[in-house]
C-alpha cells in the first residue's frame, strides 16, 4: 500500500502536465471565423447529405438568436467565436492499408498517451476509435464488432453509411436548439463517434474513444451518438488528455444516448484536459451537453465521470427517465485546483412510472478554485413511485477555494420519494492524526483519505480506468496541501 502511495506521490511531485506536447502534423484547416458559409463549408468538406446541412443551418440560425446564460457559478471570459477555426482535419497522406502506414508522428503521440493502437489492443480488450482533432484516423476492431452487428465508427462515416440511423436519432435527445453551446455544436460539429448496438446484443468489450485536442486554435466540436436497441448492453469509455497550450480553447461537445427497452448503457469518462497553469493562464473551456434518453421500459443508463482537467467545466450529464421502471445513475468526482472552475452535476427527469435515479457526486476543491454541484431532480405528474437519492459531498483543501451545492428538486407527484443530502467538510484533523500515529505521513494520509472519499465513484469505473483515475486525482491535487 505505502509503496503504491509513494509511487503516486513521486509522480505527483514530479509532474506538471505530463501530456503537454504538440504533434506536428499538417493540418487541413479552414480559415478562422463563423458564418453560414463556414457551416456550408464544413458540411461540404465532409460530403454531407442535404438534410444534415439543413440541420446545421437551422441550428446556426437559431444560435444567432441565443444568448449565453449567466446562471452558472462560473467566471467565463468573453469568447470570440470569430477567432476560432471550426474545422481542422489531419491531411490524409494516402490510403492506409496497415498500422505501419499511420503517420509516425501521430503514432508517437498515441504511444505517449499510452493508447494501444497496435495489435496489443486485442489483449487489452479495448476497441479504440482514436479521434485526433476532428476526424477519426483509425478505427479498430471494427471487424470483430461487425460480426455481432455492432456499428462503431466515426460520425462522418456513419453519416455516409448509415444515414437512416443517424437521421433518426440525431438531435432526438439533445435538440439542436437545446442551449447555446448545443446549438453551436449542432451547427459546426466536425466529427465524433457513432455507436449502434442491435437488439439483444451484449457488446463483448468496452468501447472507448480517446479525444484529443491537438491543433492550436482549433475548437473541438465532437458529436457522440450511442443507440442501444432492445435488450442490448454496452459499456462506453471516453478518456481525454490534451496538450499544454497557452490560449484558451473551446470545447463544446454533445453526447446523445438513446436507450431502448430492456437495454443498458454504461458511460464512463475520465476528463483531463489542460487546466491552465498555476496562475490560471490558458486551459480549456469544456462546455458539454450530455444527455441520455431512457426511452424504453426497464432501460438503464449510468454516467460515471472523473473530472480533473479543463480551466472551466460546464457539464451536466442528464437522464430522461421516460420508460417505466427505468433506472438512471450518476457518479461523479470533480477535482479543481489552482484557478480551475467547475459547475457540474446532473439532471434526472422522471417521467415514466417506477423510475429510479441515484446521484453520487464528490467535489474536491483546492488552490484558488471553485467547484459547484448543480443538479435537478424533476418528478413529472405521471411519474408514479419515482425514487431519487442524491448525495453531494464537497471537500475543501485550503482556505482560498470554494465549494458550492445547488440542488434543484421539483416534485409534482405525491408518490415520489426524493432525498437530497450534501455535506461540506475538510479532511479532519483527527483523521490525519490517526494516520500519523500509525506512521503514515501527512501527504500520504491526504492521498489516502481523498481516494477513500472518492472510492464510491471510482469503484464504478471499469478497472483500467479506475487505476488511471486514482493517479489523476493525486496529480490534480499536487501542491494543494500544505
Amino acid at each position: 500500500m505505502s509503496n503504491d502511495q509513494d509511487k503516486i506521490l513521486e509522480e505527483v511531485t514530479g509532474s506538471d502536465y505530463k501530456y503537454g506536447f504538440v504533434t506536428d502534423i499538417e493540418n487541413d484547416a479552414i480559415a478562422k471565423g463563423l458564418s453560414e458559409d463556414t457551416v456550408r463549408l464544413i458540411s461540404e468538406k465532409k460530403k454531407e447529405p442535404e438534410w444534415l446541412l439543413e440541420y446545421r443551418l437551422n441550428a446556426y440560425r437559431h444560435w444567432l438568436t441565443m444568448e449565453q446564460k449567466e446562471w452558472a457559478h462560473l467566471d467565463i471570459p468573453e469568447i470570440d467565436f470569430q477567432n476560432i477555426i471550426y474545422y481542422s482535419a489531419p491531411k490524409p497522406k494516402k490510403e492506409l492499408a496497415s498500422m505501419d502506414e499511420v503517420d509516425p508522428d501521430l503514432r508517437e503521440t498515441f504511444e505517449k498517451l499510452g493508447i494501444p493502437l497496435d495489435e496489443q489492443k486485442l489483449l487489452s480488450g479495448v476497441a479504440v476509435d482514436a479521434v485526433m482533432d476532428s476526424v477519426s484516423v483509425k478505427t479498430t476492431f471494427k471487424q470483430n464488432l461487425a460480426e455481432l452487428g455492432i456499428i462503431f465508427c466515426s460520425f462522418s462515416e456513419a453519416v455516409q453509411e448509415y444515414p437512416d440511423l443517424v437521421k433518426k436519432y440525431l438531435g432526438s435527445v439533445v435538440p439542436s436548439r437545446d442551449n447555446y453551446y448545443a446549438a453551436l455544436n449542432s451547427a459546426v460539429f466536425s466529427d465524433g463517434s457513432f455507436c449502434y448496438i442491435p437488439k439483444g446484443v451484449r457488446c463483448p468489450m468496452e468501447l472507448s474513444t480517446y479525444f484529443r485536442i491537438n491543433a492550436a486554435n482549433t475548437g473541438q466540436f465532437e458529436r457522440t451518438l450511442i443507440v442501444a436497441d432492445e435488450g442490448s448492453y454496452v459499456s462506453y469509455l471516453e478518456g481525454c488528455t490534451a496538450p499544454q497550450r497557452d490560449e484558451n480553447q473551446l470545447h463544446a461537445a454533445i453526447v446523445e444516448i438513446y436507450v431502448h427497452k430492456d437495454a443498458e448503457v454504461k458511460y464512463s469518462t475520465v476528463q483531463n484536459w489542460y487546466p491552465g497553469d498555476k496562475e490560471g493562464k490558458g486551459g480549456i473551456y469544456n462546455f458539454v451537453t450530455k444527455r441520455g434518453m431512457l426511452h424504453g421500459d426497464n432501460s438503464k443508463l449510468s454516467w460515471t465521470q472523473v473530472e480533473t482537467g479543463s480551466a472551466i467545466t460546464w457539464k451536466y450529464p442528464s437522464c430522461i427517465l421516460k420508460g417505466n421502471n427505468s433506472t438512471a445513475e450518476f457518479y461523479s468526482v470533480a477535482v479543481t485546483n489552482n484557478y480551475q472552475q467547475a459547475d457540474t452535476g446532473t439532471k434526472m427527469i422522471h417521467i415514466g412510472k417506477n423510475t429510479k435515479s441515484t446521484i453520487v457526486s464528490k467535489g474536491i476543491s483546492a488552490g484558488k478554485s471553485n467547484n459547484s454541484y448543480r443538479g435537478l431532480v424533476k418528478v413529472a405528474k405521471g411519474a408514479e413511485n419515482a425514487r431519487n437519492f442524491s448525495q453531494c459531498d464537497s471537500m475543501l483543501l485550503g482556505d482560498k477555494c470554494g465549494a458550492h451545492t445547488y440542488p434543484y428538486l421539483e416534485v409534482d407527484n405525491p408518490t415520489a420519494i426524493v432525498e437530497h443530502e450534501a455535506t461540506t467538510s475538510k479532511i479532519g484533523e483527527d483523521q490525519i492524526f490517526y494516520c500519523n500515529q500509525r506512521g503514515i505521513e501527512t501527504e500520504d494520509a491526504i492521498g489516502l483519505i481523498v481516494n477513500g472519499y472518492a472510492k464510491e465513484v471510482l469503484n464504478q469505473l471499469p478497472m483500467e480506468f479506475a487505476v488511471e483515475a486514482q493517479k489523476l486525482l493525486q496529480i490534480s491535487l499536487e501542491g494543494s496541501v500544505g
Binding site: 470554494g402 409534482d412 415520489a416 437530497h420
Partner: protein, 457 residues
C-alpha cells in the same frame, strides 16, 4: 434592466401621483430615500421567474391585480383597538396594532421600562430622528430587489422597536397587522425597523390576520439590527385567507455573540413569499430559522432564506417543513454563504416536505456556497409521503386511517413548532395546526368571529 412593463408603470405612476402626499406626511429621513429607490425600481422592475431568486414564483403576477393602493394617512373607521382581543390562551404580551398599513395603537406599549420604545415608524422618524436616521434603510439591500425598492419608495408606516443596551423586554411584543378594509381590494406597504442594542433581549410575535375576505396585497420590509450579546426571537404567524398576497422581506444584521431565532408558521394565505436574510456581522453569532407551512387548495408558499456567515465561529440552523395538499405549491430556496475567513462555521439546513395529492407540488433548492475550508456545513432536502410502516403500525393497533394520518402529519409539523419558546403561543400553534390538519378552518377564534362581526357592521 429590461423595459418597464405595464404593471411596473402603474406602480411608478402611482408613486409620482402620491409623492407629494407621502413627502408631506412623512419625515425627511424617510423621504430622502424615495427618489433613489424609485430609480432603482425603474431599473430592476418587479422580479419575474427569470430571476433565479424568484424562479418558482412570478411576483409580477402577484402585483398584477387591480389593487386599490393606499398610502398616507387613512381613516380607520373601526375602533380596532377596542374590538381586537387575541385569543391565544394565557398569552401575556404587549400588543401593537396595525391596520390599513398604519400603526393604530395609541397607548404606550411597553409599560415596564420607559427607555424601551415601541411606536409607529412615522412617529419615530420625527420624535427620535437621530436614532432613526442611523438605522433607517441602512440594511435593506440596494439595487437588488425591486420589491424592496418599491417598499422604500412608498414607505409610510410600520412599527418601530428600540431596546437600549442591556434592557430586557419582560413580555413578548405582539405586532398584529390586520386587514380591515371590507370594501375594496387594497395593497399596502409596511416598513418596520427593529433595533436591539448590545445585551438587549426581546421576543416579537408578528401576526398577519384578516378581518375581510377580500383580495389584498401586503408587502412588508423589516430591518432588524441585533447588537452584541443580544437575543431576539421573532415568530411570524401568517393566517390571513386564501385571497391574500403576503410578501415579507426581513433583513437581519447580527453582531458578535448574538442569538437570533425566527419561527414562521404559514397556514392561510393565497400567495406567501417570505424572504429572510441574515448577515452575521461578528464572531460567535447564532442564527436559527424555522418554518412550517400547511397549505392546501391553490395556496402557494415560497420561502427564501439567505444566511451569510461573514465571520468565524458562527452557527446557523435551518429547518423548514411543508405539508402540501390539494393543488398547493410549496417552494423552498435557501442559501448558506460562508466567506473565506469564516472558519469554524457550523451551518445546517434541512427542508422536509410531504405532498399529499397528485396536483400538489414542491420545488426545493437548498444551496451551500462555501469559501472557507474548516467548516461543517450540510444540507438535506426530502420530498415524500407519510411513512407507510408507521401508518401500518397504527392501523394494526386499531387507529383509523384518518386519525393515523393526522397523527403522523402532526408529529412531522411538531418538530418545527416545538422550537417556539413562548409556551402559550406554541400551544396555540399546536392547536391551530391540529385543527387545520383535521380539516377545520384554523383561524384564531376571535379573529374569525371578527370577520362575522365586521361583515355585519
Amino acid at each position: 434592466m429590461s423595459t418597464t412593463t405595464e404593471i411596473e408603470k402603474k406602480y411608478i405612476d402611482f408613486y409620482i401621483d402620491h409623492k407629494a402626499i407621502l413627502d408631506q406626511q412623512s419625515s425627511d429621513i424617510v423621504n430622502k430615500h424615495r427618489t433613489q429607490a424609485i430609480e432603482n425600481f425603474k431599473f430592476l422592475g418587479l422580479p419575474t421567474s427569470n430571476d433565479e431568486r424568484y424562479k418558482y414564483t412570478n411576483l409580477s403576477k402577484v402585483f398584477d391585480q387591480n389593487f386599490d393602493m393606499r398610502v398616507g394617512e387613512q381613516i380607520v373607521d373601526l375602533n380596532v383597538e377596542s374590538i381586537f382581543k387575541c385569543d391565544v390562551i394565557r398569552l401575556d404580551a404587549y400588543l401593537a396594532l396595525l391596520a390599513k398599513g398604519q400603526y393604530v395603537t395609541k397607548e404606550r406599549v411597553v409599560s415596564h421600562d420607559e427607555s424601551i420604545i415601541v411606536c409607529s415608524l412615522k412617529e419615530a422618524a420625527k420624535k427620535y430622528s437621530q436614532l432613526f436616521e442611523k438605522y433607517y434603510n441602512q440594511l435593506a439591500p440596494q439595487r437588488e430587489d425591486g420589491v424592496i425598492e418599491l417598499n422604500t419608495a412608498l414607505a409610510f408606516d410600520g412599527v418601530f422597536i428600540y431596546v437600549p443596551k442591556g434592557k430586557v423586554v419582560d413580555k413578548p411584543i405582539q405586532i398584529v397587522n390586520l386587514q380591515v378594509d371590507g370594501k375594496e381590494n387594497n395593497a399596502i406597504q409596511l416598513r418596520h425597523l427593529i433595533v436591539l442594542e448590545d445585551r438587549a433581549e426581546a421576543k416579537l410575535i408578528f401576526c398577519d390576520d384578516s378581518l375581510t375576505s377580500n383580495e389584498h396585497l401586503s408587502s412588508a420590509v423589516a430591518e432588524v439590527f441585533v447588537g452584541e450579546n443580544a437575543h431576539l426571537e421573532m415568530s411570524k404567524m401568517q393566517n390571513e385567507h386564501n385571497e391574500s398576497r403576503n410578501i415579507s422581506n426581513t433583513i437581519v444584521r447580527q453582531s458578535a455573540h448574538s442569538v437570533v431565532t425566527s419561527n414562521t408558521v404559514s397556514l392561510l394565505g393565497g400567495v406567501i413569499r417570505n424572504n429572510l436574510h441574515i448577515e452575521m456581522d461578528g464572531e460567535y453569532c447564532e442564527a436559527n430559522a424555522y418554518g412550517i407551512a400547511l397549505i392546501d387548495k391553490a395556496q402557494k408558499v415560497d420561502t427564501f432564506t439567505y444566511i451569510h456567515h461573514a465571520h468565524p465561529n458562527c452557527n446557523s440552523n435551518q429547518l423548514y417543513k411543508n405539508i402540501i395538499d390539494d393543488e398547493a405549491v410549496g417552494v423552498f430556496s435557501g442559501t448558506v454563504l460562508v466567506d473565506k475567513n469564516a472558519q469554524k462555521t457550523n451551518a445546517f439546513q434541512a427542508n422536509n416536505n410531504i405532498i399529499l395529492t397528485d396536483k400538489a407540488k414542491m420545488n426545493t433548492k437548498p444551496q451551500l456556497v462555501i469559501y472557507a475550508d474548516d467548516v461543517k456545513c450540510s444540507h438535506g432536502a426530502t420530498v415524500g409521503q407519510l411513512d407507510e410502516n408507521a401508518m401500518f403500525y397504527m392501523r394494526a393497533r386499531g387507529i383509523e386511517e384518518k386519525d393515523a394520518k393526522m397523527l403522523l402529519m402532526y408529529a412531522f409539523a411538531d418538530d418545527v413548532i416545538r422550537k417556539m419558546s413562548i409556551t402559550s403561543l406554541r400551544e396555540n400553534t399546536e392547536d391551530l395546526v391540529r385543527r387545520r390538519l383535521s380539516g377545520e378552518l384554523s383561524l384564531c377564534r376571535n379573529c374569525s368571529s371578527r370577520i362575522l362581526m365586521n361583515s355585519t357592521l
